[in-house]
């Protein structure tokens, strides 16, 4: 029973295949001289991040979450709406 519960938990946390593939495809275009720092967890190259996504560990899941958040924001149009808001420049100059 405990084993089953464990399996259910693991299954729940698994990254969906399409989200994983999408995130890896995006990461793959990242220039190889860039590194990404994630707080006290450490610094990662693109290859290391791809490996984490493939493994589906905490960092990998976070990378996928950030990618999906970005796509969701684009789909909703809120990012461009905010960017095109006309009062920003004025506010900065005050």
């Amino acid at each position: 029973m405990i084993e089953n519960a464990k399996k259910t938990e693991e299954k729940k946390e698994e990254i969906p295949k399409d989200a994983k593939e999408l995130t890896i495809a995006r990461l793959d275009v990242l220039p190889s001289d860039k590194k990404i720092s994630v707080g006290s967890i450490g610094e990662f190259t693109k290859d290391e991040l791809i490996e984490r996504v493939e493994k589906g560990d905490e960092i990998g899941r976070k990378v996928v979450e950030i990618e999906l958040n970005f796509l969701r924001t684009l789909r909703e149009g809120s990012l461009l709406r905010d960017i095109l808001a006309p009062d920003q420049e004025q506010e900065l100059n005050e």
């Binding site: 990461l27 860039k34 720092s37 950030i66 970005f70 900065l92």
Partner: protein, 214 residues
Amino acid sequence: MSKTLLITRPEYDPATRYLSRWSGKIKEKAEEKGINVIDLSKNKANRKRVIGTLEKKDPGLVVLNGHGSESSVEGHNNETILKEGDEKAVESKIIFARSCKSAKSLGQGMVIRGVNAYLGYDDDFWLMYTESKISKPLEDKTAELFLVPSNYIAISLLKGHTAGNADNRSKILFRRNIEKLIIEGPSSDNYYTIRYLLWDMMHQVCLGNKNAIF
């Protein structure tokens, strides 16, 4: 009596090195404005010095750089410099913690218990940088996309803007960078940073008194 800024700048790994060097710009701005700056850099960014300075010098603005967690902010070599229970030392102050997650629990608790305003991040702060620029962080155009907007929280506060306004102004700079990258398109070296800039911007928060002024 002149205003006092306390800034911590631990420097022991690439992330803290970048935060420390870019925080030099906050320090310069404060000095330009005649503000008394207490700069606890490298091994001076330890708990004893930080708490002692908070209690003795009573700085109105506290800028903390370093790693963090939901319940703490760290200094040099990952030593905890601020944690739950330290509310008395930071009572009535404006805090900007450029560290991961600390606004989630520590910041929330602090504003309930007397901190005037707490600006920071309620999730991980992601920073992208160029490996070949590690020895010259200020020349790294990739890191600049992240650190100029977040620096602007402190710079706005030094300029006399309210905490809420400082948060908004910083977010405008994040958006401006995102917009620039969208216009440049996928051929830009930094196009991929958009998702992380967006993440940092969305998780940047101003807790407590949004009208607080330094």
